[in-house]
């Protein structure tokens, strides 16, 4: 049970959240202009690194806000939490 620091509500148990996968995957400007390969990348291909991963969470049972987290998938350590629209922080 991770303890996830909601940028608004503070630390809450993982079960209050909904996982949203990789962060910073923008909906394509003009999907119609994409090739099938490019569209498939958008649809199905997400990073899956072992290590730091910028990902989205929604505090679905709390304030219902989406936000971003940098978490190490090898250790589950959370390195940063930041709001949607903010750039991924640089972590030493």
């Amino acid at each position: 049970m991770l303890l996830i620091p909601c940028p608004w509500c503070g630390p809450r148990d993982e079960i209050e959240f909904h996982y949203g996968g990789q962060a910073h995957v923008a909906y394509p400007e003009d999907p119609a202009a994409l090739s099938d390969e490019e569209w498939a990348r958008y649809l199905f291909f997400r990073d899956n690194p072992k290590g730091r991963f910028a990902e989205r969470w929604s505090h679905s049972a709390g304030c219902r806000r989406w936000f971003n987290v940098v978490r190490d998938t090898a250790t589950n350590e959370i390195h940063a939490v930041y709001r949607i629209g903010e750039p991924r922080p640089v972590i030493a």
Binding site: E14, K50, F53
Partner: protein
């Protein structure tokens, strides 16, 4: 008295030292890697093969799964490869000369809602057309097969029936892995442990070798079998895969006198359970929601698992959880595997089996060996190519195919 496990053979395999080069290097010494090596040697006469394993052989998901074997998948493509596997299972003990404790005790998939029933019946009919044994059972028939299932109508999610595959069952995972390892080693395959692949050498669009914690190794062909770590390894050759890695947990109870004669799985009341040969209840849980490479999952998953187990099996109340553990499973968008070629020549991929690839072990080993040997997909694995994500020809086993184990 109690049922003792059959003995392992006196000799298994010798730890091999890496050579400079091999015709085929298999990355990952789990069940799939070992079965692939075995069939490369046996079916295709290719024996200058190394299986590279970063830890101890078959210590990944092969050491962690709940060992459910069945072939009653929904879609024709899935039925093809899983049924091929099941047929191989039926002759595998003899083939490998190893007691695998393959027990065709049947698998029940319970239905708890009218939609579950529809989906289940649909699968039964699909299975039959595909030559897969399948039956629909009414609650009383479920009770007959597995008397400890609570089929009373007044529980939160009553059992409305079940699909039943009599030929399905379980096997002893370690024995399977070691059976393949031993047989492959006997053909001259090098099984190399504590040898982590840290890089893939790609020249002019062709893979030429691997770099490892035990030095570089040249390879004519490289076949990935890294399960939960497939994304990480494929990325070494610049190949992106539509995978997400999640922890999946399982647990066992203490040894108990026989209470559970078959395998029961339930999607809605998420639980799957069998009583293994020694007498322990083996139970699987769900995946953790978030990506992770930790071989352990969150505790609330286990609690929910137990709540679900007691709904179906009230007599389990005072059984004890002895040990829990987790594995890292690689999940695809359509809950079907990826087997075949990659954009890099001579680099092959077998991954995405997610929560359910143990049952496929001999089948995928067979097809993947063929793919690697011939440089083109085996007909049974062809539908599981990487390019299905581009065309959209997914083999979606989520919706209608019950729990994927």
């Amino acid at each position: 008295m109690t049922e003792n496990l059959p003995d392992h053979p006196d000799w298994l395999w010798a730890a091999a030292e890496p050579k400079r080069s091999y015709d085929v290097v298999i990355v990952g010494g789990g069940g799939h890697g070992l079965a692939t090596a075995y069939y490369l040697a046996k079916n295709h006469g290719i024996t200058n093969v190394a299986v590279l394993e970063r830890g101890w052989l078959a210590g990944g998901n092969m050491a962690r799964n709940t060992t459910i074997i069945r072939s009653n998948y929904l879609w024709d493509e899935s039925a093809g490869i899983y049924e091929h596997a099941l047929k191989l299972w039926e002759g595998l003990e003899d083939d490998l000369g190893y007691p695998l404790l393959f027990s065709q005790r049947g698998v029940l998939n319970l239905a708890h809602s009218l939609q579950d029933v529809r989906d289940s019946v649909r699968r039964v009919h699909a299975n039959r057309l595909n030559g897969v044994d399948a039956e629909w059972l009414e609650p009383e028939q479920v009770k007959e097969l597995c008397p400890i299932v609570d089929v009373s109508p007044d529980v939160r999610y009553p059992v409305l029936g079940a699909t039943y595959q009599p030929r399905a069952g379980i096997a002893k995972h370690d024995y399977v892995a070691w059976g393949f390892a031993r047989a492959a080693a006997a053909y001259g395959v090098d099984l190399i442990e504590n040898c982590e692949v840290t890089g893939l050498d790609v020249r002019d669009g062709r893979v030429t070798g691997v770099r490892t914690t035990r030095g570089p190794i040249a390879a004519g062909k490289v076949a990935l079998c890294a399960a939960g770590h497939s994304s990480v390894v494929a990325a070494m050759a610049g190949v992106a895969l539509p995978l997400q890695s999640h922890p999946l947990q399982a647990l066992v109870s203490e040894l108990l006198e026989p209470v559970h004669p078959t395998v029961v799985m339930s999607n809605a009341v998420h639980v799957y359970v069998s009583q293994a040969h020694k007498g322990e209840l083996v139970m699987g849980a769900g995946i953790d929601a978030a990506n992770s490479y930790r071989q352990r999952g969150a505790f609330h998953i286990i609690e929910r698992q137990m709540a679900a187990a007691l709904e179906l099996f009230p007599v389990f109340a005072r059984a004890h959880v002895l040990r829990t553990w987790g594995g890292v499973v690689d999940v695809t968008p359509d809950a079907s595997p990826i087997v075949g070629l990659t954009p890099v020549d001579d680099l092959y991929v077998n991954c995405g089996w997610g929560t359910g690839g143990f049952k496929a072990t001999p089948g995928v080993g067979w097809c993947y060996a063929h793919t690697v040997a011939h440089g083109e997909p085996h007909p049974l694995s062809a539908p599981f190519s990487l390019d299905r994500f581009t065309t959209g020809a997914l083999v979606d086993e989520h919706g209608a195919a019950a729990v994927a184990h």
